[in-house]
Symmetry: C2
């Protein structure tokens, strides 16, 4: 079989203006960036305000292995399958982060015959949204350190007299800097260092960089309903605390306007197409462990306003992106999924047995592709857990078994039987979206369309009016099945402070390992009776949630000793090679 980039290069594509018209956008709403990409003006949002909304299909997965289960492939393939059944359909996915592309992951545009094209445009820069988030984020950081510098160097009174502004008296900075790279050396740094006795470079303090996708601004981009909501949310972002322990916001620093201006184009989704011409909106960034990991409210709103079916994707397993889609995103947008697709693979289920170890950067153990009844049975518990998790929200589900070429036909059929034997009100289909595109996802598409007709009874796990503690307990105990939650002393103190500061009605975004349903990445399958440890609570007042750090969550990845950037180059025609 051809490589992803070869398939992508040899597939004829339509111009993005044709795709946009086909999707129902007016020419005046489409700002093309070259032949195959376009920004969609938010004028379209206004026009479509009163449209009846199509069905929203959310693709999630079992607890994923480090290699991924093919969720994007299934999302794109399913959308192509629905198109082949002559329904109007759009896909909504997130923009890949360049850090992991240069690191271990390679491209993130789907794969095989189910890709968003051109894949190198999607994977590299796209239309600059992540760069805009990086720029707006770091503007606030520079503004903060500059303000501290001028206030401290001049003295508060002199500063107020000279500038006519009120001194912010910043005491503690909580806003780190960001870059879209896997750069472990920036995780923990000291800034503002000077030669002895000088202060020309500001005041020394400990700081660090996160990867851009972990920025609160990325979460805001995904949740904002329009540019004015973006502006309001950015104004609320808490950057620091003053000497009295009160929050210092971007509004207080008078930088919220400039940050919004910097993200003015990023708030518009980018339109692309799949290899089979399905219109696809790309918006907001990845990472469902440290952020909420879903495509944007704006993109979903546009797609469901214009098409009968919208297929979107939530990061990692259903304990991660799917939970956040239901409890954070749906509560913000008022729009909940009409059907969930749970992607499973034989490989992934066997890895979930805990019997076979799979490490990032290491070759895939061959035994993962060999029939292994015992491992499958054990790993199946994980799938069962995710089915129960999804249906708990009142959302009908379809299990998509994503086939790998090495898989045994017999074992695949065995898995189908196991699902059917559960006698749950779910559907199951084998997907050949990777090797056959939409044609390979026809059965899946039919079952999804069928489930979309089932009446939903959507019910989030908690309501925003509950206390922060209640919300946390609900996610941990009902959502994950933990027997109890242990808060560190720091987290307990933060819980009190956040409640006292009036942030009690925010949602909770769990920053948890995606490698286990529990907080411990080594526990596979469907663990029960575990304790969830919460180390820290972080305020994202602009995004509208409090981010609960469970265990050791890395917000800046590192590069391995054989990173994938080594494969990337240009060929004699100046075309990209080495991206897959």
């Amino acid at each position: 079989m051809l490589s992803d980039i070869e398939i992508c290069r040899t597939t004829p594509l339509s111009s993005i203006n044709t795709i946009a018209r086909q999707a129902g956008f007016l020419d005046t709403e489409v700002v093309s960036h070259g032949t195959y990409k376009a920004k969609i003006s938010l004028k379209a949002l206004k026009r479509c305000q009163t449209h009846a909304k199509g069905k929203l299909i959310l693709v999630t997965a079992i607890t994923p292995t480090p290699l991924g289960e093919g969720k994007t492939v299934t999302t794109i393939g399913l959308a192509q399958g629905i198109a082949k059944l002559q329904h109007s359909v759009m896909a909504c996915i997130r923009q890949p982060s360049m850090g992991p592309i240069f690191g271990i992951k390679g491209g993130a545009a789907g794969g095989g015959f189910s890709q968003v094209a051109p894949m190198e445009s999607l994977n590299l820069h796209l239309t600059g949204d992540i760069h805009a988030v990086t720029s707006a984020h770091n503007l606030a950081a520079a503004a903060l350190d500059a303000r501290i510098y001028h206030e401290q160097r001049q003295g508060y009174e002199a500063f107020e007299a000279r500038t006519g502004m009120t001194a912010l008296k910043i005491d503690k900075v909580v806003w780190k800097r960001v870059l879209d790279h896997n750069d472990r050396a920036l995780r923990r740094i000291t800034v503002g260092q000077n030669e002895l006795g000088k202060t020309v470079n500001g005041y020394e303090r400990e700081d660090g960089f996160d990867i851009s996708a972990a920025s609160e601004l990325m979460a805001i981009l995904a949740l904002a309903s329009d540019i004015h909501d973006l502006r309001t949310r950015i104004g609320k972002v808490v950057l620091a605390y003053n000497l009295q322990g009160e929050p210092v916001t971007a509004e207080n620093l008078q930088v919220a306007g400039a940050m919004t201006v910097t993200m003015k184009e990023a708030i518009e989704p980018t339109l692309m197409q799949t290899l089979e011409g399905v219109p696809t909106l790309i918006h907001s960034g990845p990472f469902a462990n440290i952020a909420h990991g879903n495509s944007s409210v704006i993109a979903d709103n546009l797609a469901t306003s214009l098409s009968d079916y919208t297929v979107t994707e939530a990061g990692f397993g259903s304990d991660m992106g799917f939970e956040k889609a239901c409890n954070i995103k749906a509560q913000a947008s008022g729009q909940s999924p009409d059907c969930a697709v749970i992607v499973a693979t034989l490989r992934g289920l066997k890895a979930n047995s805990g019997n076979i170890s799979l490490q990032p950067g290491q070759p895939i153990p061959k035994e993962l592709y060999q029939p292994n009844k015992d491992a499958l049975l054990k790993g199946f518990e994980n799938l069962k857990w995710h089915i129960n998790n999804v249906t708990r929200y009142g959302i009908p589900a379809v299990i998509a078994i994503n086939r790998f070429p090495q898989d045994s036909e017999q074992e695949l059929n065995e898995l189908v039987k196991m699902v059917k034997a559960l006698n749950y009100p779910v559907e199951v289909a084998i997907s050949d979206a990777f090797s056959q595109g939409g044609e390979g996802a026809l059965q899946l598409a039919e079952k999804v369309i069928k489930q979309c007709q089932t009446p939903t009874a959507f019910q989030p796990l908690y309501s925003l009016s509950q206390t922060l503690e209640e919300k946390l307990m609900k996610i941990a105990e009902v959502g994950y099945g933990a027997s109890n939650v242990v808060l560190s002393d720091q987290a307990k103190k933060q819980l009190q402070q956040l409640t006292a500061q009036g942030y009690h009605s925010l949602a909770l975004c769990m920053a948890k390992t995606p490698a286990s349903i529990s907080g411990d990445p080594s526990i596979k399958g469907a663990p029960r009776g575990f304790t969830l440890e919460v180390n820290e609570l972080k305020l994202c007042a602009g995004a509208g949630f409090i981010y609960a750090v469970c265990g050791n969550i890395m917000t800046m990845p590192g590069l391995s000793d054989r990173p994938s950037y080594m494969n990337l180059d240009i060929d004699q025609n100046g075309d990209v090679i080495g991206l897959s």
Copy 2:
């Protein structure tokens, strides 16, 4: 008079495809980014290879005040004037850096009726070139620290056995990180810090960030002749030295391909238009003190291949960007200017008298606009110096006196007389490009066209085959008029090392204050007999020059206590306000 952004918003513009056709680009060479911006494919370079070249006009200035002398206004206005005289013309300017836009400068698209439009597109992100440079630069930095981490943690032998690669044994890193912000707290930092006894974040070392425009990759972008030359130059970039003191290049680190891929779109100039529809290519970044400060070789090549006249701009005074245009850029491209325009203002000349102090961030002293014969006479020495400097290279010159509304007509005429009285073979014209657009630059355009017919006898100051020391002496003594050059012990040692390492045939890029012809920013006018101090020599092997640091050169600006980001916001329509 209306503000710049108001003028820009109320001026009707043509679609960029119309502008592109008018400029002589084929539709297949134009990748539009919305209605008013397009990337120009380098296919155009190949097609135009054999075209006869039009005249290249380089706009420079007297020693500028911190407020600028209106060089971009004059560049755009002159191009518009030439167009009004029915000649085919294009302008080539650099992309503004967002750091200074948020800092003190506001926009950098020209002003009044001589602007590149839409000005907010030019000033913010444009087509992402600076972001691409930032990304490629920081990829190399992340790759470097990751390699050090893996080699040291595993041990050299184990690393080689495990990865099959040769250990680079990196000892000293010379590649800093970059961001497009004015962020003084990042000038000097410590990276790779860990909790006691751990090394998960790499190894601690001192580091720092420069502003992105100061990246060697930006200089490379401006000097590369095509994407393959870009790839070759990036491969040569020296990132570090190993335990044997030998250079470690981007090629050695196997990251040069990925860096090139990251800059694949940045190598294509962006086409925009002036308010009067003159096609304008935007390419590479600003900063003629710490970089070479000129538009790109590729943009000049395209523009001169397709139009009779190309107007481009070099940063700061003629001792800075113009010198580098002649000695670095022209020696790399083989294309030298046919005419130089020296922009002077009454305000700037009076400031150059040294009698009136002008500080960034402070209100402009009113006396700068009042007739002051003594100050003008003294400051005129500076203009004389720049005329001599330009004509020394064998390039015919025109003095453009950029009028401010507050200027006295009588004093302007006095200045014209003073220039004429010199009896130099130069022309002089008053420019009203700001208030009248091309109409206000007609006389200037006529004189420039006349001077373009004068045969040139271009002569760079030095040839690349001279020793590094000879080149340095030439620029300092002949170029600046220094009586001698003093190298620090460090610079002396570096001169020997660079020569020994085979880098003796590179050009020299002087990192000097733009505020004086000497190395001391407080010395105004036309100083003579001064000593130039060189503190440090830095290798830019990919750009093809050695960067000589004279005095205290800041490579990362800071924000003032009343930065211009505070003015920026969106209005009720979602449009940008506060950019000028």
